[in-house]
Symmetry: C2
Subunit: 426 residues, 2 copies
């Protein structure tokens, strides 16, 4: 965890997103890369691969990968990594799949990852529909679309004969979305065979100009309200946990949070009750609170905790507790550290330069991604765009724009970041 | 449907539950039945069958029968009806199972039914556990415990050689609980092969002294709240249907209803959302409103409808509607008629006399049972107790008391009602 003073500096950076000019060596190195013949071959490879990438996005989207249910998609992606010619292709115990592209040995290990999981629950129809210039399907963008881009990176590097100093571990990881709570990353950095050897981390997500160097912290809870339950007519008048939950939800929805440092909250899932004519014996909701500032996140946490007792007390006062009172259980289901990779760290400078030189408008931002975990460990990490523009992420009408030229242009910038981070062998 | 003046008289009866003295002919007939040698044999048959009944309750409880999923239990019960020696044993198109015990032809058709379905959703563990003098399991009482009692009635009638004037159709029916909305009864009375031929109807439910001659009316709705959804962090600030639903739920919970005529309401099931870090695009709740008085039920209905627009408007005002507003859909999922069988109708008098002469304390009451449907058609109907005492109906800790003597005593009274209603052949 970063000290508090550093967290404040994250907020300061976010307050004025820098269209940072790459400085000195980094800029020169990246300009040289862009000007090289090899990089031009790599760019052409990406362009030639576009249709294949889109086809692979469809294939992978249609293999559902709900949180904790990524295994089938992981198995398919593992075979794709193998087919791309990596070595040491394997799945780890947590369910991440990965393979190495060996470098010349002059640099430390770089991980380039996209996450396998989507937010959508089991049973969601993920059939991809083409409508105009869009592919439509739950999860088609976040983060399924990035998985084939990693494969295209590998093919482009090979076609261009680019040798990097660092080994690059390409990975499809599990548990990035809500309930997964970064379990893929926790395993990779704290337990897996590459533990202690990873010097830099790049997460690829849909997007273009934004370089995520701030990790938004989050606290997530499942709050369960329990009561005696009973027959809706015969036991009418007994306390009902649904009313206590509703009361808490209304109060939660009144929370005031600052726009800057960005701080948010959400009721995500509500559930409970057995039938229309039974007083529920249990209802539950999950809530998500986030901030780029640890202090604001702590305030949200305190606010949530302050509203639960009164909400439950009001229900216990409003109806009969003769058969039992309403009680609640607060269960922490997600706890992502606030993290930061400073703007002057080489990895951030490389990513910013790659976009600026490629013709984009780089912006630093904060988000909650796989990079939070390495950031919290002090390991340089950024989340960069795959080149694809997507819309309505996490909504059932999620969609991915098919604008070949712009996508390839930005995809090329991200490949430049990967190469820059891994270093070109002389 | 009964005229409104009659509904008021139901309320009047309910206001002063009558420990009615059976009058004249009915009392004499029932006393003669109780004094007969044949009835004594029938009583001994019920007593001898007690352990078998308890064993069959366990067997049937452990075959789950969620609403619309009664088929497996129905098939098992059909075989039990067949084994009990009935004729014309069959399942109808709706899923009810039934068989005839032929009478001598002097009386009109009597139906004696217990319902197959429970309130518990698929996947509920219905393994029966014995604890002290109780059998514990979801659904063990309501109404599973009545199904074997009907079988014991048939065996007792046969053993005693009792011949009735009316044919008796014994039935395990579907769709009594909430979502079923009396579909079994609707089919039986409006479509099935016995349509137009049923003169009297007896529903058997757990219980002892109470004779249900008033059908509590109900209105049930599923209310779905929809919004644009989105990423909890990226799209923070958009309207969230969970808050609109919570607002409506809090207002619903403030509804004032009279204790007399008895009027109730309930939020039964809440659901919605896809993940903790997504703004839900849809949440829903089911509500149940009941009254023995049609006017009070209409007031509840109007109250519910009055709170939805303001709740949705408050959410649309509280957060951004830039990506879409919250809207709601109100869907009627249950509509049970208020019904009544007058206290001076022979069937009611027989049931009251059977309990009084048997040593119980008969009370008239209103409830929402299969009898609502025939009552609403003007067909004499009552719901009587099986003799079993159960507790915590519709709750996961539902249980059934094993007090052999009292159970058999009351079971015998209910058999007397069945015989009295069908009439003993001379």
């Amino acid at each position: 965890m970063k000290p508090f003073s550093m967290l404040l500096s994250v907020a300061a950076v976010l307050a004025t997103p820098a269209a940072a000019k790459p400085a000195g060596d980094t800029e020169a190195t990246m300009r040289a890369l862009y000007g090289s013949r090899a990089f031009n071959v790599a760019r052409q490879s990406l362009a030639a691969d576009y249709d294949r990438i889109v086809s692979e996005i469809t294939t992978l989207t249609e293999i559902p990968a709900s949180p904790f249910k990524e295994a089938k998609r992981a198995a398919a992606y593992l075979e794709m990594l193998r087919a791309a010619g990596l070595t040491d292709v394997e799945a780890d115990e947590e369910g991440n799949v990965m393979g190495l592209r060996k470098g010349t040995g002059g640099g430390p290990l770089l991980v380039v990852a996209a996450h396998l999981d989507t937010v959508f629950p089991e049973g969601t129809d993920t059939k991809v529909r083409r409508e105009g210039n869009y592919l439509n399907a739950p999860g088609v963008g976040d983060d399924t679309s990035s998985l084939p881009v990693l494969l295209a990176f590998i093919r482009a590097l090979d076609k261009a004969g680019i040798r990097t100093r660092s080994d690059i571990l390409f990975m499809g990881d599990v548990g990035e979305e809500g309930p997964g709570d970064l379990r893929g990353m926790r395993h990779l950095f704290n337990k897996g065979k590459y533990k202690g050897r990873i010097a830099q981390f790049i997460s690829v997500e849909p997007g273009r100009d934004r370089v995520t160097n701030g990790g938004v912290g989050s606290k997530r809870y499942k709050i369960t309200f329990k009561g005696p339950g009973g027959h809706s007519f015969g036991a009418f008048g007994l306390v009902n946990p649904a009313y206590a939950m509703a009361d808490a939800m209304v109060e939660f929805g009144k929370m005031k949070v600052p726009a800057n440092p960005k701080t948010t909250y959400n009721v995500g899932v509500v559930e409970g009750g057995t039938s229309v004519n039974s007083i529920p014996f249990e209802t539950a909701m999950t809530v998500d609170m986030r901030s780029v500032d640890a202090g604001e996140l702590a305030k949200e946490d305190a606010y949530l905790k302050s509203i639960l007792d009164p909400a439950v007390a009001r229900e216990n006062a409003a109806r009969s507790t003769a058969k039992g009172k309403i009680e609640y259980k607060l269960e922490l289901i997600g706890d992502r550290p606030v993290g930061h990779t400073a703007p002057d760290v080489a990895l951030v400078k490389i990513a910013m330069a790659a976009i600026a030189i490629g013709g984009g408008k780089p912006e630093l931002e904060s988000s909650s991604t796989d990079s939070n975990l390495p950031m919290s460990l002090g390991i340089p990490a950024v989340t960069i765009g795959s080149g694809f523009h997507t819309e309505r992420s996490h909504a059932p009408d999620e969609r991915l724009l098919l604008d070949r030229d712009e996508t390839v242009r930005y995809m090329t910038m991200s490949l430049a970041t990967v190469i820059g981070a891994a270093g070109i062998a002389k």
